[in-house]
């Protein structure tokens, strides 16, 4: 292929998926805040009749955040940075453009319909895989389309060396494909029973303990390949590009990549400690969870060291602040996870609010912060406009940081309190507390969490507003900024 001076990167797909990231992010967090409030104020369960109870809305929250927000963000950033690190424009292939657009519409319709189906009560009850079989097929189709697109773009690349971010996106594609496919193996009962009952209903291919193992092999690694791998891929591109500093050690990034790939998958069974899965699997899950600290911190330290000698940028550029905080939260939650995977700690932590606390310092602090930073970085380049307001961005940063801290601290206390109360015995060895006493005592923490949810949601709305104003009213840029994102 000849290089062409008039050739430009085509951002139309990246733009479309950016809109979706913001839309699904808002919806997911809105529902999340509502269900957090429902635990503090149970009357809020009755807003929408049978469709508004905590139990119905929880999968709506989790699935919208996972398959709506995060997956759109992965697509948006891929269609942006994929072109750039491969030095090839999507516009060079009509086929890839058409494919990308089919992927976009199929994805949009699929996720919206699947969300409605969850509200209506169609659920396979396997966490983060609740979508019934017709939507599983749509998700898999979308995923395959993305895979073809990625491979196609790699096929026509100019830069022959694959940058480390591309590795991570490739791994994300392969990992999710494998996990999703195996965990969602199910048989529609309508077809297997000669046309009886609801066509949407299905039964799992696996039963009992096996189903649990497959599910948590999936559940744990959907976090790995959805919330970790692609986000690491993002930060390996956006942090160097925004700061103008190459990755501290490219070798370390290669090493952590293979480490993460190999180790992460083993740790799934730490979700099943003290259950009926065989002991050796539980031990394996615990041990590998500890080993997992190494590759995770390998990446995180690499990111922080990238800023070596340039820490002044932290005060000068709010985007660097977002990304540095994201990697710090990544370190926090990748040390917290292994601690919870120690058997004796797990005996207290499992089934309590400490677990949602852990999930949220990872997701709110790491995934969402990184994704927002990526969008802040991409928007001026995609729309050739300056960021609308730096002040708003700074304010949003502090508001959301405080929100995350409130969230996980309140849930740590709530979780450990409840875990200890469940097992507390008096001098005669009798249980000290009835179950309801361990619920009532958590109310103040649930209120703090609601407050933190509201704060985080407001921060996200400020982010959405800032992007909207940037696109419509930001000062026009004549040339594409090289490193630091310009902001007013």
């Amino acid at each position: 292929m000849q290089s062409n001076a008039s050739l430009e990167y085509d951002y139309s797909l990246a733009k479309k998926f950016t809109y979706l990231t913001i839309l699904f992010g808002f919806l997911g967090m809105l529902v999340g805040t509502l269900i957090a409030a429902q635990m503090a104020f149970p009357e809020l369960n009755y807003l929408l009749g049978e469709y508004g109870t905590f139990s119905r809305l929880r999968p709506v929250h989790t699935n919208t955040v996972v398959f709506g927000f995060t997956v759109s963000g992965i697509f948006a950033t891929w269609f942006y940075l994929g072109q750039r690190v491969l030095k090839v424009s999507l516009a060079e292939s009509r086929f890839l453009m058409v494919l990308g657009n089919i992927q976009f519409w199929l994805y949009l319709v699929g996720v919206l319909a699947a969300t409605v189906s969850l509200v209506l009560g169609y659920s396979t009850s396997k966490e983060y895989a609740q979508y019934e079989w017709p939507f599983d097929i749509v998700i898999i189709l979308v995923w395959v389309l993305w895979g073809i697109n990625m491979m196609g773009l790699i096929g026509i690349r100019r830069e022959k060396a694959l940058y480390i971010s591309v590795w991570y996106y490739l791994a994300c594609f392969l990992g999710i494909a494998m996990l999703y496919l195996f965990n969602n193996m199910e048989i529609p009962t309508y077809f297997a029973s000669g046309g009886l009952g609801n066509p949407m209903h299905s039964v799992s291919m696996y039963s009992g303990t096996n189903d649990a193992l497959v599910q948590w092999w999936y559940g744990h690694n959907a976090v790995a390949f959805g919330f970790t791998v692609p986000i690491v891929g993002m930060i390996y591109y956006f942090l160097p590009k925004e700061s103008g500093q190459a990755i501290y050690s490219y070798k370390l990034s290669l090493l952590s990549f293979w480490g993460l790939m190999f180790v992460y998958l083993w740790a799934g069974s730490h979700h099943l400690l003290w259950t009926t899965v065989p002991d050796w699997m539980q031990t394996m899950g615990s041990a590998f969870s500890i080993v997992l600290i190494l590759p995770s911190w390998g990446s995180a330290i690499n990111m922080l060291l990238t800023m070596k000698g340039e820490w002044n940028q932290l005060t000068e550029n709010p985007l660097i602040k977002f990304m540095v905080l994201a990697s710090t939260f990544y370190m926090l939650s990748t040390i917290e996870g292994p601690i919870q995977a120690i058997r004796s700690v797990n005996a207290i932590a499992h089934f309590t609010d400490w677990i949602p606390g852990h999930v949220h310092d990872g997701v709110l602090g790491w995934v969402v912060f990184m994704m927002m930073a990526a969008i802040f970085h991409m928007t001026p380049r995609m729309f050739k406009r300056e960021i609308y307001s730096r002040k708003l961005m700074e304010f949003q940063f502090w508001l959301q940081t405080i929100a995350v801290v409130l969230y996980f601290t309140s849930m740590w206390i709530a979780g450990i309190t409840q875990g200890m109360m469940w097992r507390a015995v008096d001098e005669y060895g009798n249980l000290m507390y009835s179950f309801i006493e361990t619920v009532v005592i958590l109310e103040p923490y649930y209120m703090i969490r609601t407050l933190s949810g509201v704060m985080y949601l407001i921060g996200f709305m400020m982010f959405a507003y800032n992007i909207y104003k940037t696109v419509t009213a930001g000062r026009k840029l004549s040339t594409e900024p090289q490193f630091r994102t310009p902001m007013a």
């Binding site: 392969l174 009962t189 039964v203 799992s204 291919m205 193992l213 998958l265 259950t275």
Partner: protein, 221 residues
């Protein structure tokens, strides 16, 4: 050593696939047949109980309730004997849950009765002061999808050889023939219930969701 791999996207993708599938193969496969074995003489759920399990899934009770009693004295004192792998052998999907906002339900059938559940589902804080569980009033109005439950029994019998009798088989005729047995089973549960909506529906030969759900919870022992 690895450089050719890192340059060639196809082999690179293959290498990632091998590296990431390792763990699943080693952890899941060796115990697969053993972990799927039921306890001796264990019976699969009745069709009504399956319908109840589907209500449990539809209203996603597992968001707040576990069905997994861990082998600690504090748990066996509170909920009963610790759970065994074989007890779950017919559960598709497993419903262990991952969060106890409410108590474990794996042996709830041992210590709660039909009328306790009825009153509790209508107004949890009235029965358990301080409870943050919402009322599930709609379960008294909505009808359980018993036909789908039957379809599920047929499916697991034919595909996974779950031991159901000859009365569970494919096709509409078989279902129509089986239906009276199911209604009879539901009547036994409903006879302990007081809600006029339930009584009215049962008279018409319908099964409200709550009846199926209680049948399911009573079977959790």
């Amino acid at each position: 050593m690895f450089h050719w791999l890192e340059k060639n996207p196809f082999f690179f993708a293959a290498a990632i696939s091998i590296v990431i599938s390792f763990a699943g193969l080693i952890e899941i496969v060796p115990n697969f047949t053993q972990a799927g074995r039921p306890l001796i003489d264990m019976k699969p759920r009745t069709v009504l109980e399956i319908a109840g399990k589907n209500v449990y899934m539809k209203d996603n009770c597992m968001a707040c309730h576990s069905q997994m009693i861990r082998p600690f004295k504090s748990e066996t004192d509170r909920y009963g004997a610790y759970s065994l792998s074989g007890e779950y052998a017919y559960d598709r999907p497993f419903l262990w849950g991952s969060k106890r906002t409410g108590p474990d339900l794996h042996r709830i059938g041992n210590y709660r009765t039909t009328d306790w559940h009825e009153a509790h589902m209508l107004n949890p804080p009235l029965i358990v002061p301080g409870s943050i569980m919402p009322a599930y009033d709609h379960q008294f109005v909505n009808l359980a999808d018993i036909e789908t439950a039957y379809a599920e029994a047929v499916t697991v019998k034919n595909v996974f050889h779950t031991p159901y009798g000859p009365e569970v088989r494919r096709g509409r005729e078989a279902w129509e023939a089986y239906k009276p047995t199911l209604i009879e089973e539901a009547r036994k549960i409903a006879s302990d219930m007081k809600d006029p909506r339930v009584i009215e529906a049962m008279k018409k030969g319908d099964v409200p969701e709550v009846v199926a759900l209680i049948a399911y919870m009573n079977s959790l022992k």
